[in-house]
Assembly symmetry: C2
Homo-oligomer: 484 residues x 2
């Protein structure tokens, strides 16, 4: 009642969206009723627990809950929600699986969180065209389960079972990117609800060709836009033939340099390696303990190859030659599915293995990416910085792309330690920028890297991005406070 | 003198750019002097022959000469030219090799043509990072010559020896795209002079990482923008390991369907075919005559494989199995460089072979791209339409991408025939659009396909593109009349 009264004094509409515009902004009862009129009462919540749950992702950014959470059932509802919120000056925050790592879902100005997970249909599969259309709630594992008997798969794998449209919004990549590319390379078309509610098909309605030179690349503009330009309500993705056979391997190296040199030589030899992951000695030690591996505690590469039996044999032979030439040893080849799963489960659980180094603590992951030739020096320097900082941290990375993560394990109650983490992470990014790298290979800018983005792209770059944002979202209501 | 007088009455500047604003616009002497002050007298021309030469590309669009042509020597000059022209309301038209096929360089509103071919240095080669930075005048052949001993190459090959930045602007692709992707997939960073003269580095100055999730994808926005958003003054390109060995082949098929089915099966089998090109019977007949081949006059695939000797043997074996299963015959394998060159020279000369069908006539090329599953029906329909139209035309295409060209050979003096060509081409595009395809796989929109672009991307799509254009080029002076 009080909020209704405040609403009445605030604006000209009886259910004007906001009662107050501070960070404590509440929605008027009338506005909540209007939300319910769009998606149905059971699909709107203003319960504190629900809002809390939607106010954070898997990162350490503090929870900033939205004022309401809504679960639209179809694109028409998303469109009406966008029009309603935009018309009333209420921020809109898209929500997928909540597995982001840069605070992309924090409702820094309050507003309505649009949880898209109820829209989880696979709308269209075109096996001959190697394409599929998914709604935003479909996760990458759900898609690959659906594709199991089709001879096709979707290879982008950021680790978490993220929603595919969330992966589009983040510009995600992961372990298979060295061979299959990132989300940027695997999106053919997007259906986007623009801030005012209008529906855009980035490559035209229903289109799913493999290439085009028709006008500006709108698809590319929305991939990696982190929900700041519109709500992605469907994605047409590029599929790949499922590998006929797969071999995985681990191999230890005398130094970081030797591991990275091997990577460059493998790429130069055009071995179509599917995955090539680096883990430093601390990370290996943690993985040995956590996943009961029995690997050397040394700089290590995890590799995976896809192809026919014959092609695999050659890839494996060439790789072994290159690795031995660079001083690698302790090969462990895994051909059977079970053995491979065990290896890659250990790699995918690296995050938890790192956390287990300090029970009760939380993790923070850096995400720089540099030209591969600069990897050895930045890795060596980062290890030195880690030791000097006294922080607990491991290094793991998609070394074939020049992208690596430093997983820092922190006591969230220790303010001084948190500051050291912040300093360490910023120093690492500035080092990467000085080596012509980027502050984020795959996690996005989100809340914490906005200043660093500015340093990375320069004044004209950031102004151009701001102009694009202002053009597509003139009221600045789409996931405000992110990216820019 | 007359023009100076008119200039004085036209505007407030003594050398106001335009004396009149119609399509007959002339530049004032003062403005031409200002151009000379930027680039030096020898690098400015207002000679009719020079202007004519810069008023058209290789297409049939009529010559529309600019009012002046300038040859800047460096990026600072390009920046000053842009500021000068923009300040004076004078259109700016970037010019590379002039090998475009959609009238992209026609000066529809007059203005200054900026010929970038004097800026032809390879600025930086990073072999370990698989990247190179080129100025806009460097052509793809010049780059590959430079790379000869590096073990690397740049695979995007549109046929013509186009300038690489022109290829960026067009979003070009060509015969190798099925394996190596198009320009969209192979540009890491762009240096762009924005319309007002400011310098943008689309991924930040000097950066050349393999992937990033940092902010909006500005690089992607400029690839394929056809000179309408800015002047590309340097491109950082992604390089690939040079193939260890290469095999080429041709193979005849009983039907179009059999040739396309083979293509889909080869892709589904994950054979990493480097080139897979379709030529119809009429095209083969023309190539046999023009290039003295001795191939069957039947639907034909030209193929090329890259890899190690061992990998090639397997690719070839699998491909033969698939092709035989689909009724293909008359294999001709070419392993030696000379033999391969002869085959691919014939393919690259397809345009001239088609022209030779009617000596004295000109060629017009369509460029639709459809989902591969729809290729057989559109190819069969297109052949029927061709016969019904009475036009002379051949079909050749990058069938692995779903992209094909119908090369129509026309008497440029025969107005009625030109109209039939226009009708045929439009009907073909509308057919492609109905099959979820695009009006242009690789030639761009240019002058002739603006209406078709609108049909392809829909109202919201075209309005979004218009908004982006208005944001980056508010005065509408960058290559006006193209794309939108």
């Amino acid at each position: 009642m009080a909020s209704l009264l405040r609403a009445a004094t605030w604006g000209m509409f009886p259910w004007r969206g906001y009662c107050s515009r501070g960070t404590q902004g509440k929605l008027s009862e009338g506005f909540v009723e209007a939300l319910k009129a769009v998606v149905g009462s059971p699909h709107v919540s203003i319960a504190a627990a629900v809002r809390e749950q939607h106010g954070h992702d898997e990162s350490m950014h503090r929870c900033q809950p939205p004022d309401a959470v809504v679960w639209p059932q179809n694109v028409e509802q998303v469109s009406r929600l966008a029009a309603l919120c935009y018309g009333q000056g209420v921020p809109i925050i898209p929500f997928g699986s909540g597995t982001g790592l840069e605070g992309g879902v924090c409702a820094v100005q309050g507003g309505v969180c649009v949880n898209l997970t109820h829209m989880d249909r696979i709308l269209e599969l075109n096996p001959e065209d190697f394409s599929v259309v998914v709604e935003p709630g479909v996760t990458r594992k759900a898609l690959n389960t659906h594709l199991r008997d089709s001879g096709l798969w979707f290879p982008v794998d950021p680790g978490a079972d993220a929603s595919l449209c969330g992966m589009v919004a983040t510009g995600a990549s992961g372990t298979n990117a060295v061979r299959y590319g990132t989300m940027r390379d695997n999106v053919l078309n997007l259906e986007v609800v623009l801030p005012g509610g209008r529906l855009l098909h980035s490559a035209g309605p229903g289109r799913h060709f493999r290439k085009s030179a028709a006008g500006y690349n709108l698809t590319g503009l929305f991939v990696g836009s982190e929900g700041t330009l519109g709500l992605i309500t469907a994605a047409t993705l590029r599929l790949h033939p499922a590998p006929e056979a797969t071999v995985a391997a681990t191999c230890a190296f005398p130094s970081v340099q030797a591991a990275v040199d091997s990577t460059v030589h493998i790429l130069q030899a055009a071995v179509p390696v599917a995955r090539i992951e680096f883990l430093d000695d601390v990370m290996m030690d943690a993985c040995n303990r956590h996943s009961k591996l029995n690997c050397c505690v040394a700089p290590t590469l995890f590799l995976e190859f896809h192809g026919s039996e014959q092609a695999l044999a050659e890839q494996v032979q060439r790789t072994e030659e290159i690795i031995r030439h660079n001083g690698g040893s302790h090969f462990s080849w895994a051909k059977e599915a079970e053995e491979r799963s065990r290896l890659w489960a250990a790699r995918h659980n690296a995050w938890y293995a790192a956390l287990a180094l300090r029970p009760g603590c939380k993790g923070y992951s850096t995400d720089v990416c540099v030209p591969i030739s600069r990897l050895p020096e930045i890795l060596v320097q980062t290890k030195e910085d880690l030791q000097a900082s006294g922080l607990t941290g491991t290094i793991v990375g998609h070394v074939g792309d020049g992208n690596f993560h430093c997983i820092l394990v922190v006591d969230p109650e220790d303010h001084e330690e948190l500051l050291r983490v912040k300093d360490f992470a910023e120093q690492l990014v500035r080092r990467a920028l000085a080596l012509h790298g980027t502050c984020t290979g795959e996690h996005g800018i989100g809340l914490g890297k906005r200043q660093l983005l500015q340093e990375e792209v320069g004044t004209v770059g950031i102004e151009t991005m701001r102009q694009l944002k202002a053009t597509l979202d003139p009221r600045g209501l789409m996931n405000p406070g992110k990216v820019l």
